[in-house]
């Protein structure tokens, strides 16, 4: 697949604070998830891609064209910012149709497109209310409407699901998926793994300004599987279970947790381990209350990748 967005050896720092360090990417059409904790450089990368910031080193090509001060490119790009800032005294409809006029749509066409965009994000009955009175979820959806109103090929969303309730989150995820099916290129940045997992399998992991992993999420999951994992098991007879488990060679370490009856097992082969557990429990007729893996989250992936 031809890559829509390409960056080569991209570096950016604010004063002496490092923003981005040597990032080379190729992004194809469909949804690409940009994952990283707060302050990892996600927003900096997105701002560089949309030409809002000047890179100190490196080049960026979007749809084959240079980005910096190439404003005609923006008829093909839709950007949904992270900040929660609006022209507070405008109504929803005026905000969208006003911005559409800046896309050189004549006034009547801008109105129609604006109404259509508001329908997509289900804000039609709030279109005449002033933005000041919008709730956080509505503002987030309005930002999404602003990014897709001019039907761009490339949609860039900076933390679109941040701080909105689960119901609105599900609605927005469905919307983003609809746009993927229309063949758009979408970049979604977030710091929560399940949100991205619900949308796409293609992920870029970014931390401290560097790209740590890029590719299919399951490839990364398996990567995690191979590295030692901590699993906490609460059962009626922890010592008995431990005694049985010692024989398994996939178990690296077992320590007895502080609370009664809890066991912390470190294993390098989760499939093998989870395959054995049901049999052990059934054979020895043990009462198992809980099986959880405390480090099965994004942070653990990063800690592992950074080799902490």
């Amino acid at each position: 697949m031809t890559s829509v967005i390409e960056t080569h050896k991209l570096c950016k720092w604010y004063g002496d604070v490092l923003g981005l360090n040597d990032v080379s990417l190729k992004i194809e059409s469909g949804i690409t998830g940009l994952l990283g904790p707060n302050g990892a450089g996600k927003s900096t990368l997105l701002k560089l891609i949309t030409g809002q910031l000047k890179p100190n080193i490196g080049t960026i090509m979007v749809a084959g064209e240079k980005v910096r001060n190439n404003y005609s490119l923006f008829s093909k790009i839709g950007f949904c910012p992270e900040q929660d800032s609006f022209y507070e005294e405008m109504t929803g409809l005026q905000f969208i149709s006003g911005l559409l006029r800046l896309n050189h749509y004549p006034f009547p066409e801008a109105q129609i497109r604006a109404k259509k965009a508001l329908e997509i994000v289900e804000l039609v009955d709030e279109e005449d209310r002033v933005l000041r009175s919008y709730s956080r979820g509505m503002r987030q959806r309005l930002k999404f409407a602003q990014a897709v109103a001019h039907d761009p090929e490339i949609i860039i969303l900076d933390e679109p699901l941040n701080g909105i309730d689960p119901l609105a989150k599900r609605k927005l995820i469905r919307l983003i998926k609809d746009y993927r099916d229309k063949g758009k290129t979408i970049i979604v940045s977030s710091h929560v793994l399940p949100e991205i997992e619900a949308m796409t399998r293609r992920v870029i992991l970014i931390h401290q300004g560097k790209i740590f992993a890029q590719g299919d999420i399951h490839y990364i999951r398996d990567l995690i599987d191979s590295h030692p994992h901590i699993i906490s098991v609460k059962c009626s007879d922890p010592r008995g279970l431990a005694e049985k488990l010692i024989k398994e060679e996939c178990i690296l370490k077992i320590n007895f947790g502080s609370s009664k009856g809890s066991l912390l097992i470190e294993t390098n082969n989760r499939d093998r381990f989870f395959g054995v557990i049901p049999f052990l429990v059934v054979e020895n007729d043990m009462e198992v209350y809980e099986i959880t893996s405390p480090d099965d989250n994004l942070q653990a992936v990063f800690d592992y990748l950074i080799g902490k």
Binding site: Q52, N69, G78
Partner: protein, 270 residues
């Protein structure tokens, strides 16, 4: 299909017009614009008060046109248009940065220069509207009794055009200041009320370095009177040259503002 981007002046003017309409609608509705509308009606209120008090001081024989040209005009020229252009000029750029709404503008298919010029134009029209309405009303009030002889309207026209020229030049300068310095309001105040007043005590052509000088040289009747604001010794440049210089200054300031705005990276986190 996205708009075919015809590179060239026609496209540039088109985007300026779009930005102009966007901010003109927004400006009309903004709360601060309404407050400044009230402020711009102060001279009208003053004119009314003067008319109201006149019968009590019948011994004073200052005729009204003199009041208008020497006092109301001075008030406008020296104070009101400065305050208005300062606030609206600097907010062309810093308002977008403080409110973090710049992001919506620079991700549109229009050049950054057209954003500056479009918004500058929108705010100019707003300020000019405020001023013209105020001047016209106060002029009418003060010349109630001789509304019929048409020579006075020539005076009104000249005064209004001088004020408009003043607004355009000052706002261009403050727009440049807005894109250039973070503490733009304070610098603007020091320039317009510190520098432009102190300069009048200096001899020779140092007066050439203020915008106020060219504006005053367009007003013939502004001779030295006891108001401390006016130039003590005004060596006016000829009107045509003054107008030319003002226009050139406006163009230069706007060009620099656009250049700065295009080149600078505005980090939005304050």
């Amino acid at each position: 299909m996205c708009k075919k981007n015809k590179v060239g002046i026609q496209f540039f003017l088109q985007s300026i017009n779009d930005v102009f309409c966007f901010f003109f609608d927004l400006g009309k509705r903004a709360k601060k614009t309404r407050i400044f509308y009230l402020i711009s009606f102060l001279p009208v209120m003053m004119a009314l008060l003067i008319k109201f008090l006149q019968p009590f001081y019948s011994n004073r024989n200052i005729e009204d046109p003199y009041i208008f040209s020497n006092m109301i005009m001075v008030f406008y020229l020296q104070f009101l248009i400065l305050i208005l252009s300062l606030f609206f000029g600097t907010s062309v750029c810093s308002e977008e940065i403080e409110g973090k709404t710049l992001i919506y503008l620079i991700t549109r298919p229009i050049s950054k220069a057209s954003i500056i010029i479009g918004k500058y134009g929108a705010y100019m029209v707003l300020v000019i509207l405020m001023t013209v309405i105020g001047v016209f009303l106060s002029f009418m009030i003060l010349n109630i009794n001789n509304l019929l002889d048409f020579s006075i309207y020539k005076v009104l026209l000249r005064d209004v055009s001088v004020l408009i020229l003043g607004i355009i030049c000052y706002s261009a300068f403050f727009t440049f200041i807005g894109t250039f310095i973070k503490r733009s309001i304070l610098f603007g105040l020091i320039f317009s009320f510190g520098w432009e007043n102190v300069i009048q005590y200096f001899p020779g052509s140092t007066q050439r370095f203020t915008i106020a000088h060219y504006l005053k040289s367009l007003l013939p009747s502004a001779s030295s009177t006891r108001f401390s604001f006016l130039l003590f010794r005004l060596e006016p440049t000829s009107p045509r040259v003054a107008v030319l210089i003002l226009i050139i200054l406006t163009a230069i300031f706007l060009a620099i503002a656009c250049l700065l705005f295009t080149v600078k990276d505005y980090i939005l986190e304050d």
